[in-house]
Amino acid sequence: MIEIMDLSKRYGKFTALDSLNLNIEKGSVFGFVGQNGAGKSTTFSILATLLAPTSGSAYVNGYDVQKDSKLVRKQIGYMPDFFGVYDQLKADEYLHFYGASYGIPFAEREKLIPQLLDLVNLSNKRESYVDLLSRGMKQRLCLARCLIHDPEVLILDEPASGLDPRARVEMREILKELKSMGKTILISSHILPELAEMCDTIGIIDQGKLVAQGSVADIQSQLRGERLIIVKVHGSSEKAVSFFEDDPNIFKLALLEDGASFQFIYKGTAEEQTELLKRAILNNLAITSFAEAETDLEDVFMEITKGVELT
């Protein structure tokens, strides 16, 4: 659905985007993670036909963003990280304006707008002036605007930034709904755990380069080659601890507060991990749970981008 090949953007000597390669499947949700100035918004702007790349190519649904920019605009719904609204325009008129901008006839817009407002939980704000809405409501209205021409791809640049926790949850629920509708969503955010929950794939971008891509677990193992395992035993954990301590792939073993659980970092392969569990069972250890801990995406992100000085 979205294909990016060797995409670069330079401003004089500054490289905002450095040979970015990316492939996003139809119907998937791709999360773009990176520090401020890493190149996320530059990538989104190029895909939204707002910025010409210095070199490389990008395709949306098979259309080249440079050669077929008008066709690309039909395919995408773009929500920038910062956007304004018109004073003295009502929510209904706001959506009518953008609907008309996509050439949607008035009668069709009249049917569409209530549905979209319902989707973003703003039905009761149809006659409200846009500039009087709260930030969260404006974000949701902007999302409704993105959907007015039923695009296949949504490019959402930090849609949850500046929102309070409740508004974030509402936004997340709407995005889940859109995902279930089969939209391909490209989203950037600093709220990493939320991305982990929502996205099929995550790309970490740093200084214009994609440094990691895959599921959260993939990225972690790809970059660290290690997993955090939590083991729970029935009764005393002493015997189990001494068994696991002897394994050369196990590091930083630590007992947890409940006394029956402990955790360690495992650096072996998946096959070795399976063998370890088999041996533990054969040694009559009363293991009730042996599981990889949920990945802390913040930690992964910090580790990947650590020590990088932004220019």
């Binding site: 702007s45 939204a48 036909t49 707002l50 910025l51 010409a52 963003v65 440079q66 050669k67 920019s69 008008k70 605009r73 039909k74 995408i76 773009y78 920038p80 910062f82 956007f83 304004g84 609204v85 018109y86 004073d87 003295q88 325009l89 008129e93 009518h96 304006f97 953008y98 008309a100 901008s101 996509y102 050439g103 902007c142 605007r145 021409h149």
Partner: protein
């Protein structure tokens, strides 16, 4: 044409313009200013006729000229203010990017922005028409002259408006765009008149050798000056003087039409080209 009539940007701009109370205040103050000047002119002229309170038809013609020049001055003053922020203010308000990701063409956006902003000026001029009826009340002016003046205004507004739109597209900050547009307007309306005078004076200074000296240089700033062109429609002698002085017999107003049409086309085409990034692969 249908696209322009039902253009969403045009509709939105009209809606926003006339929802603002400031727009109505603008019309009020514009008419008040013009009305005060007309009444003041009649009052002063009546007093100057040996305090007899008469107002002669030839004075009515003078009043029409004063009113027309004044209205041109107001147009040249207001047009940059209305047009020099049409694109840059959208950029500053962070609404431009969203508009540019819609399927509207750049030409549609630029033209509808221009039309919506100058239509307010056209409203001002149309609203001032009843004031011109004072002139007809006293005689001395033909309806044809009035129509010519209105056509001249419309054309001039379009050209200066297109310059405002151009600078608004090229320059990111509205304030800088405004200053630039006012600067160019000042040059075209005042600077060219000054240059014309200088060149004509230079011609006269070396004009003692017997034959009538000519200097074609004065023609070019004169053909760009809207005040000179408007005056020449009232006073044909002025055109004759420029023809004598420059040696160029080609009608000044046609040169004005041609040069300003070229400026208009150039400004609009450049605005359309520069609104969106050049996405063509090199």
């Amino acid at each position: 044409m249908k696209n322009l009539v039902v253009n969403p940007v045009l509709n939105k701009e009209f809606k926003l313009r006339f929802r603002s109370f400031k727009s109505y205040l603008g019309v009020l103050f514009y008419l008040l200013a013009l009305g005060l000047i007309i009444v003041g002119f009649i009052f002063i002229e009546s007093l100057s006729n040996n305090m007899q309170g008469f107002f002669k038809p030839d004075q009515s013609r003078t009043m029409f000229m004063v009113l027309s020049i004044l209205q041109l001055g107001l147009i040249l003053f207001i047009t940059p203010g209305l047009t020099a922020g049409v694109i840059s203010s959208e950029r500053e308000r962070q609404t431009l990017n969203i508009m540019l990701t819609t399927t509207q063409s750049s030409s549609s956006i630029i033209l509808s922005k221009l039309i919506s902003s100058i239509s307010y000026l056209i409203l001002l001029i149309a609203a001032s028409l009843p004031l011109y009826s004072f002139v007809f009340l006293f005689g001395g002016i033909s309806p044809g002259q009035l129509l010519t003046t209105m056509g001249f205004y419309l054309f001039t507004i379009l050209v200066y408006g297109s310059l405002g739109v151009l600078f608004s597209t090229l320059i990111r900050k509205t304030i800088v765009s405004m200053v630039t547009t006012y600067g160019v307007t000042l040059f075209l309306a005042g600077g060219t008149a000054f240059l014309t005078l200088i060149f004509m004076q230079l011609t006269n200074a070396y004009g003692y050798s017997g034959t009538q000296p000519t200097n074609p240089l004065a023609y070019f700033p004169a053909m760009l000056n809207p005040v000179i062109i408007l005056m020449s429609t009232f006073e044909p002698e002025m055109t004759n003087e420029i023809t004598r002085s420059t040696g160029i017999e080609f009608p000044l107003w046609i040169s004005y039409l041609i040069s300003y049409t070229l400026i208009f086309i150039g400004a609009i085409l450049l605005s359309i080209k520069k609104l969106r990034p050049n996405m063509k692969k090199g």
